[in-house]
Symmetry: C2
Subunit: 197 residues, 2 copies
């Protein structure tokens, strides 16, 4: 695990969260997986619409489903994600259930739910590496999705691995330093008032 080198203190869960390329093949307990999706479930959302949807495949338990999820990942992601014991898709329901109108926060709120899922995983010693690199049309066909549901992300979930667990190319990616824009870069306005004087 590679803790973030933060400029200001943040909670350990947030500092520890990290998206590795190398996963161990160690299985995840179903109890842990339930808690991950439970964490997504309790996310805040616009009008409490809860537009997040997931499709879940577990190695050794639902291999055909895991294979179908794997098949909609782009090749560059299949190359490293194949080792993760659990694969999922993140999908956004674009219509409100109560009136059928478009929910403009659907994708935003899926992002929030997957962040909560990821931090719950971190609390359990697990890692989540999300990918926008999926083939949404293929996913739509493979899972016969209605038009209102947009396949957005793939999620590889597992315990962090060692260099020997995967191809060298991906192990070296995990050695790269973790970098971020400065706080000033993400605060378009208001930064000057925030800094302790």
């Amino acid at each position: 695990m590679k803790n973030a080198e933060t400029d200001y203190p943040v909670h350990a869960l947030i500092a520890k969260r990290w998206s590795p390329y190398v996963f161990s093949d160690r299985a995840i307990s179903n109890e842990d997986l339930c808690s991950l999706f439970e964490a997504a479930r309790w996310t805040m959302s616009s009008y409490n619409a809860q537009p997040w949807r997931y499709i879940l495949g577990i190695r050794g338990q639902s291999d055909p489903l895991r294979d179908r999820i794997f098949s909609v990942l782009l090749e560059g992601n299949q190359a490293w994600a194949k080792h993760a014991p659990v694969l999922a898709l993140g999908l956004a329901e674009h219509n409100f259930e109560h009136n059928g109108k478009p929910n403009k926060a659907a994708v935003h709120d899926l992002g929030a739910a997957s962040a909560q899922l990821t931090l719950e995983a971190t609390a359990r010693g697990l890692c989540v590496h999300q990918m926008v690199g999926i083939d949404p049309d293929k996913a739509r066909e493979e899972f016969d999705l209605p038009d209102s549901i947009e396949p957005m992300t793939g999620l590889a979930i597992g315990y962090p691995g060692k260099a020997g667990d995967t191809d060298e190319e991906y192990a070296s990616r995990d050695d790269r330093p973790r970098e971020r824009k400065s706080l000033q870069d993400i605060l378009l306005l208001g930064f000057d008032f925030l800094m302790p004087r």
Copy 2:
């Protein structure tokens, strides 16, 4: 604070997180605010593009900026958000910096960053209540935003208040039970394999 009544155990931060309508007028320290945006900063994102942007206004420190943020909230949100000492806007940068092409994960990743910000706030005894109810065109004009940046959300940030801190209507909203869809509802496929047998 109203802990979520979860079906499966989740980390205390996730169970405690809650979006109240009633805020105390107690000021937030700048150290705490720095840590909130630092938590957003370390979020995962597609190609590490970090498409989240914020505009921040602090009562007593940057009142004119807070007033400008307040002015782009929809009326129904102004009515309760006026009490929060800190207001922010969440914005998505839709273009990649390295090639100018559209980043299809921009809004998704803003949602993730604001979730991390919200959980950092929870760790510090603070609450965040996000609103998609803002006037994006007004925000675009007020802050002279480039076309690639989309104003998505308002964020009211503060300590939780007591019923007397605001109008009765909003206090009663905070008494409503917290409800969510079942895990089965959000797992389109894979639920049957997940449940402990």
